[in-house]
Each structure stands twice: as C-alpha cells, then as structure tokens.
C-alpha cells in the first residue's frame, strides 16, 4: 500500500517516472507523452480521495482458499461517504480533457460522452456498474443510447473510475494480509494482472492487478492465466542488454505477461506507469501470436 501523498506530489511522481522512462527508451517517448495527462490526472485524483475503508466485506477464508476473490462490484462501488455519481462527474471534469489531449483520435468520442453526461443522456454510475458486473447487453444498450461504441465508452468510463477502484482496493487489500492466495487472478477483485515484477533478495514474483492495482505474490514457475506448471511449456524472452525486462509466456494458453526485474534498481519503479516502459515487449509478444494476460489501455499494439 502506498503512503498517502498530496495530489500534486502524486502527479509529479508520475511525471518524473514517465520522463525517466522516455529518457531510457526514447522510442517510447510518444507513448509516454500520450499517457502523461491521463496518468498524472488519475494519480492526483486518487490521492485526493479519503481512505475508502467502510463498509468492509465479510472475509471468508474457505472461499478465498477456493480461489474466490474478496470483493464484488457492489463492494467496490458502495462506500460510506462516497457519492458515486458526484465522483464520476468530478473525474470527468478532470480526466476527459486529459483523454482529449493524449489521445487525439478519441476526441470525438470524448465530446460525445461529455454531451451525454451534460444532457443526462447517460447515467455514468449505472453504466459503470453494468460494465464492471459484466452485464454486457445492458452496457451495450447504454453505449448505444449515448452514441458511442461499447469499447470506447468502456475505455473512457474505466479511466474515470480507476482512481476510485484503486483507492478502494488499498483498503480492501488490508483484509488479505497474511492470508494464503495462490491464484494468478487478483485476490481483491478477480481480474488478471497487467504485469509482474521480481523483488526482494529471494526474487519473489509479484503481480499487479490490471483493474484495481492490488499487488500479490505468485509462483515464478506457473502461468498466472491458466495455472500451467509444466516447465517445458513455460518460456520467457528478453532483449540482450535489457535483461531486467522480459516476457513470460505459456504455450498451453498462448498468453503472456510482461515482467520487470526490480532487484538492484536505484529507485523503486512507479507502478502506476511502469508497464508503459515495456510496450516494445508487448509488441514483440503480440507479433509472436501471444495474447496479454489482460488487455490494458496501452498494450493493444497490434
């Protein structure tokens, strides 16, 4: 769990990390620049939220042992002191300009979303609930009414909600401390990881959730997507000279996960943006016909 910092400090931390990664890999400069307004805005918004620690869902160790994650959509979005529609309105004001700036091809959709929200043609909170709960027909109907494609509306809504989901997950994750969880999906929300990293003198492998940003430990010798432990079917590839970055893949399910070896680094990575520094590996993996463990805003490069 990260320490509480001010919105300005949070945004500055993200800005510095993106600049450092762009210096390290100049070929990624345009991607860093595109995501910078969004990532800075999300970090600031998240840091502005109070701890979302009430109510907490009941913890059932037996269900966790069966691989059931802790929280449902309702557990995430129903927090004491949180007015979800008001939060989403605030997030839209802060982040829609960032989406327009960073992603010029999305500008028309941003305009359409803004108009739908202003004219009450779209209920952002209900749409988000439908999206997260997987009520696809309901979500597609809402997108259609707003004049947007489900993919575009889903992308934008999720970017608005990320600061809230991540902030809530910080509190939810505290319930899981000390409990055994051996799944490749997130113990808090059940989503798959966006990336892995190796840390500590023992080289433990940690996964970072693609949705709620919770971190959990996972085996070095198993596929987080399908659970395959066959050593002859699990591979990794890396570029010579850049050994701290690699792609772990599974021949059984044809999924991959980007991995950063964070051991021995001068500064700990800024996880909010660390995966952006490995987009070249996403590209190489997808050229090999592999699919990411989780599709994220930055890893659909094909």
């Amino acid at each position: 769990m990260q320490q509480d910092i001010s919105p300005t400090e949070a945004a500055e931390k993200v800005r510095q990390a993106l600049e450092a990664m762009a210096r390290q890999t100049p070929a990624l400069r345009e991607i860093m620049a595109a995501f910078r307004p969004l990532k800075e805005g999300q970090a600031a918004l998240k840091a502005s939220l109070p701890a979302l620690d009430s109510p907490m869902p009941g913890l059932d160790p037996a269900r966790l042992a069966q691989g059931e994650p802790l929280a449902s959509t309702g557990d995430f979005l129903a927090c004491a002191g949180l007015d979800l529609p008001a939060f989403l309105e605030r997030a839209a004001q802060a982040l829609l300009p960032a989406l327009e700036t960073g992603f010029p091809a999305l500008a028309a959709d941003v305009t359409a979303l803004r108009a739908a929200l202003e004219k009450k043609g779209l209920d952002a909170a209900s749409s988000l609930e439908a999206l997260l709960a997987g009520r696809q027909d309901d979500f597609e109907r809402r997108a259609s009414q707003a004049g947007l494609s489900p993919a575009s509306l889903g992308f934008m809504l999720l970017q608005l909600a990320k600061p809230l989901l991540e902030r809530r997950a910080e509190s939810l994750g505290l319930l899981l401390e000390g409990l055994d969880w051996r799944q490749g999906s997130c113990p808090v929300c059940g989503s798959l990881p966006e990336m892995a990293y190796l840390e500590g003198t023992g080289g433990q492998r940690w996964l970072r959730c693609s949705l709620c940003a919770h971190h959990w430990r996972f085996s070095r010798t198993a596929c987080p997507v399908c659970g395959n432990e066959d050593q002859n079917q699990l591979e990794f590839f890396y570029a010579e000279g850049r050994e701290s970055e690699r792609v772990d893949s599974c021949r059984q399910c044809r999924n991959y996960l980007i991995t950063l070896d964070a051991r021995g680094q001068d500064k700990p990575p800024v996880w909010e943006v660390a995966a952006l520094g490995l987009v070249h590996l996403d590209l190489l993996a997808q050229q090999r016909g592999l699919t990411p463990a989780a599709w994220c805003a930055w890893n659909q490069v094909g």
């Binding site: 992603f103 494609s149 993919a151 500590g200 023992g202 070095r220 997507v225 659970g227 050593q231 190489l284």
Partner: protein, 196 residues
C-alpha cells in the same frame, strides 16, 4: 494449483479485446515498432525456459531456478527459488556462485596444472601423471611418519603429517568415500570447507 477462478470483473477488461488499439487512440507507433524491429534484426531477442532444480553443495538442498537458453541449451542464470520452503530464494555464497561452475565460466580449469617447487610457471599434466604423483607422495609420507603407538605405548595407528580438507563441491556420497579413505590412511586432521 487450482484453475484460476474469477468473477465479473474480467468482463470489464475483456470488452476491450476487440476495441481500442493504441493506433486507434491516435498514438503514433512508428518509433516503438522500429525499436522492436531493431531488437529482432540484431538477433538480440533471446528465449529461455526455467527449470526447478536443487543445489548439490550440501544436505540442506536449497531450491534453485535454473534458466536455460532454448536455442543454445546453455545455462544463462541460476538463482534461489523463492517458492522453495527451505531457502525461500536465498543462497549461501557457494550456491550463489553456482553459475560460475557452469560451462559459462571461461576461467574454469579443464586440465591438470602442475607447478614444480620453486617454479614460476604452471605446466599442463595428464590425470594419470597427477594421480600417480599424489599417490606416490602419500605413500612416501605415510611410510615415513606413520605413528603406531603414542608416548604411553598405546596403539594409535595414526598419521599426523597429512591433512584432508573436504570441498563444498562434493556431494554426500563423495564425502563418505573420501573420509573412508582418509580414516584408512590414519589421518586425524580432517576438516571440511563448509565448516570453515
């Protein structure tokens, strides 16, 4: 490990599977594509697999992760296995140096080298030559210095002028064979590098 179990959240990220590529967001990808192509063309992309193994140095038997290049079959890395209950990823100095004992170490000796007394240079010798010479020296020293009885006239049958230092590169079975030989020769100064 159980098959991964997930609930509804997966649907949220799954919606994007057919959707928003970076290029469709208006982000130019020319530079990153050129970079990826450069890495591929320069043959810098290496593929490897990881095998779970066990350290052979001592009976603690720490867990290891051994990475091997799938093209060359050569070991590229050995490290502790963080999932292993004995060592949880940690290795002692000998275990941590195991990679240097693989074929990757160009300084590893592959021939017998001999430096004569007072000589400055090493000479390459055959194993037969070396074993014969070591046996000869042991025999001569033992014949000369073997102690049958101590000062009190008690039978001791020992040899105090040869010592044996065991190596941590030896496994349990090799150590047993060596100490049997050392005791048979009457040695009493027997130690092991793992202890010191």
């Amino acid at each position: 490990m159980k098959k991964c179990s997930r609930r509804e959240f997966l649907a949220a990220t799954g919606i994007f599977a057919g959707g928003l590529a970076l290029s469709s967001l208006g982000i130019p990808l020319g530079s990153v594509k050129a970079f990826a192509q450069e890495l591929t063309k320069a043959d810098r992309i290496k593929t490897a697999k990881t095998t779970i193994s066990t350290c052979y140095h001592c009976s603690v038997s720490c867990g290891l992760l051994c990475s091997t290049d799938t093209k060359t079959g050569k070991i590229i890395n050995i490290e502790g296995d963080p999932e292993h209950p004995v060592n949880e990823g940690a290795l002692c100095a000998k275990g941590a140096a195991m990679f240097q004992m693989s074929a990757n170490n160009e300084h590893r000796l592959t021939k017998v080298l001999y430096r004569a007394p007072h000589a400055a240079k090493w000479e390459v010798k055959s194993w037969d030559w070396a074993i014969e010479r070591i046996a000869r020296k042991i025999k001569d020293v033992r014949d000369q210095d073997f102690i049958f009885k101590n000062d009190k006239g008690q039978m001791v049958n020992r040899l105090e002028t040869i010592g044996h230092m065991g190596s941590s590169k030896l496994d349990n079975e090799e150590c047993w064979a060596i100490i049997t030989m050392a005791r048979a020769l009457g040695l009493v100064h027997i130690d092991h590098q793992a202890r010191v």
